[in-house]
Symmetry: C2
Amino acid sequence: MIIVDAFGGDFAPEEPIKGAVLAADEYKREITLVGDEDKILNVFEKYSLSKERISIVHAPDVITCHDESALSVRRKKKSSLVVAANLVKENENSVLVSAGSTGAVLSAGVLVTGRMKGVIRPSLGALIPGKKPFLLMDCGANADCKVEYLVQFAIMASVYMQNILKVENPKVALANIGSEPEKGSTLYKEAYKKLENEKNINFIGNVEAVNIMNGEHDIVVCDGFTGNMLLKSIEGMASLFKGVLKETLYKSTKTKIGGALIKNDLNAAFKKFDTKQYGGAPLLGVNGGIFKAHGNSKDILIKNTIKQAIDFTDNNCLEKIKKNLS
Amino acid sequence: MIIVDAFGGDFAPEEPIKGAVLAADEYKREITLVGDEDKILNVFEKYSLSKERISIVHAPDVITCHDESALSVRRKKKSSLVVAANLVKENENSVLVSAGSTGAVLSAGVLVTGRMKGVIRPSLGALIPGKKPFLLMDCGANADCKVEYLVQFAIMASVYMQNILKVENPKVALANIGSEPEKGSTLYKEAYKKLENEKNINFIGNVEAVNIMNGEHDIVVCDGFTGNMLLKSIEGMASLFKGVLKETLYKSTKTKIGGALIKNDLNAAFKKFDTKQYGGAPLLGVNGGIFKAHGNSKDILIKNTIKQAIDFTDNNCLEKIKKNLS
């Protein structure tokens, strides 16, 4: 079952619905939209959308970005996100796409859909546009981590990169403050040893933050505190530089002329650092494939995230994760 | 006593010596150069430098960047850095500037000069050019931290910012993965509470990595693992963007013309993100003022770092740190 939370994200319900319709048509798959039925039908009417391969499950309530994540997931039983997460739980090998807030999607996955048997901690990944795209995992779900969690993150992330991004034998690096095995905190020194001896992954050693965007890795493993710091630091610096660049180009007539000549090339060059371009961030280790689309996703990004979810279910990623963890 | 390691850094001994001569003249202070006496005298002769206010302490050996830091500090007793660190230890309220490798300067400070009474862990700061310069502490000396260390880092950093950068009542932020007090790992949640109740600092709450370059803080406190990740991530992103920018500007005749028109303004704008511009990074919590100048420092940066060291000793920072910690 392929499920889309129609009421998650800044442009809900229009864009999630349009994205689902695009995906149903392009991939010829049945898609279930979850949310207030009347409102969903209104969107279909307003934009004259095709209902082919679309079904609707009614959920009258909505979790907004102002709600406290875990609390709202526990209380708003009839919200689109919670109803959707329950559908994932009840229907084997199901997948869900939501552009709702990260905290809410995470809470719905862990508290409603539930932790996969054998997984100690579900983990949130972020696809980062480095030299080649890599999955940063965990990027914020688990602020306190133990060595065993990091090893499981590496295994789950490897299944994801193999099956969704089609990377053969994905290279796993450990984020660390030095390249040598003996570098880092106690957690990271021990994680290095365990990762080195884990047969279900292709461990290539430590990567320092200075090289994280230029490395050969397909996966960077770290605790959720560090991952969030890295992700937000990359985003913050990208936005800072964009701002400085813009300011400089508008500084004088001379720079405006210069800017006009290079603007297109610069935009193209810097676009590849946009951490939002891939659409979906996977929550791995729950009883289903849950994908968090970026909050400001338009239809195409929703459609792309649904494609990730389809690949997840078609490639039996849940089974593969279970198998590789055991 | 103001001591300069004449044989630390990529351009030793010329640049450290020239920097010391500049400082002795500009600040009218006695400065002690440590290193191979003949080689030092050769530099004075070659560049016709004035020996006024300069004295030399002979140390025939050198710790190179290829040496393993702690080991070389223990073994090379006659190296310029170890002899200099011993001078700091033996002469009350002394300060040392070295452009040697971070690891070696750190080891010399902790193992030779020694930990200050009452300090649990000496800590390395990095001055980062944000909206205004802020001290990131710890930036790599302590990969494993406890709550008490973070509180001491905040106190030591506050004395530094007050006395060296002349910031009144410096604002201390805690690096974290959310702005709310209850965010973060166990260490950070507890650190928040302790920092909030610490009377000798001006704590303003959490700062997320995305806002670290745009914040109102004068100090960002974190464990050395996180600090190193942040510092290296900032450096890595800055270098990445510089590279992309350069590549784009040389892409075609059109972009070359555009680039020529904006180059100077762009260079000026991006220069302010250079983490190396301030010269000296303080190692706080040892029995003296130890300042690590950047490895590729030329004379002016060495001189600027010596100025920091002079301010440290003239303002009795050691005593102030001791007092505020107790």
